[in-house]
Symmetry: C2
Subunit: 234 residues, 2 copies
């Protein structure tokens, strides 16, 4: 009997925003894998830390933070081989995924390498998208709103045409694109409908207007939400 | 001391997809409110039924299912008065919300009536959006995908122009619009990239190609997902 690979959505940051289902699987699986920065820090592991017994075999997956694809692909190739060997030994492996595994999640890279040969089960989680709306105390989308989620690395023209057509907008992966995105939103006259949210649901959560953000580079875990009807930005 | 109104995201259907945070609040709040159909049935209450102690004061909120706005508005007006009286008596009130309260949720109607005068806290939940992607075993959005969520009641032209601009699409509130939406997707040549999902994560979950759906009217709790790159529809 080979083991099952679980992609566990563990939610946006607050350890209590994990689901019962993910928690049960976390407690039952003998092997735990999670992405880490090159310095070894892992937000995913920190989120579940209060729920860990100390009995797991832990597999940190170090993913190089670079825009070049090859180093990351190599890292996922190596991780997939490692995880498969645990599965082949009959052990279930839980992979921790911030937010939801299938919502812009890096889990897809492991899924793509392992699902054809081994059993994979994905557990959906609370995404940063709705966590940010909660942080703002304002509905993300309502009634017949069109909601569009845009990755910030897209070119200005591509962003602009989609922003024109949506009622609610979430801009993800802001990071080093923040300055450019802020200018675009300003040009489109949407600044007063936009809010910047950093580390939603964590104790270090920040909510700012775009003009209040002191730099042109935002952390990786940040998002901009825009609601054109401007409802209830409190 | 007045009580707090909690909008609890309870997830898409599987009782284990509730978060620890929602569960703790559910156990602590003395008053429980939830939407019901006119016949008294409540999916929200059914989702949390395994977690209930039997000790809550329960407030079913009967919402008329009609496209006319007035009867529903009147029902929310009455419910808000009722819930406020419990809050004013010092009791916390937990309102059950399928999926996430701020993702096309009816909780916004209570939020809009109560948040100005009373303390309201929203707990985000696993949305049907990512639950449906999990059901399909395929990433909802990845890398620099543009993801757009469209309510089916929009006119064909409005839907078509937004569908042309997105990589991933979720069409919500399909219901009586299913036949029209199916024709539109067929006309756009996207049928083989589309899947129909009904009651995701419940035991009665169904996944069908659009052509397999035997009627032009779908249940309220159904969604269509389209990924233009057509990845991994298994």
């Amino acid at each position: 009997m080979t083991g099952t690979l679980y992609g566990l959505g563990i939610g946006p940051g607050d350890p209590d925003l994990i689901t019962l289902k993910a928690l049960k699987i976390l407690h039952a699986a003998p092997v735990l894998a999670y992405p880490t920065l090159e310095d070894g820090n892992s937000l995913a592991r920190a989120i579940v830390a209060p729920h860990l017994s100390g009995l797991h075999t832990e597999i940190p997956i170090r993913i190089p933070m670079t825009t070049a694809r090859k180093p990351a692909q190599d890292a996922y190739d190596r991780a997939a081989i490692d995880l498969k060997s645990h599965l082949d030994d009959g052990h279930d492996v839980a992979v921790l995924c911030e937010g939801d595994p299938f919502f812009y999640g890096s889990f897809m890279y492991l899924f793509g390498r392992i699902a054809e040969s081994h059993r994979v089960e994905v557990v959906p989680g609370v995404s940063s998208l709705t966590a940010c709306a909660t942080a703002l105390q304002a509905p993300l989308s309502a009634r017949n709103d069109v909601l569009t989620v845009l990755p910030a690395p897209l070119a200005d023209d591509a962003l602009r045409s989609r922003m024109e057509q949506a009622d609610s907008l979430a801009i993800m992966k802001v990071g080093r694109h923040f300055g450019r995105i802020r200018s675009l939103i300003r040009d489109m006259g949407l600044s007063d409908k936009a809010r910047y949210i950093e580390r939603a649901t964590l104790e270090t959560q920040k909510i700012l207007s775009l003009e209040e953000v002191p730099t042109d580079v935002a952390p990786y875990f940040s998002m901009i939400l825009i609601h054109k009807r401007g409802q209830a930005w409190k």
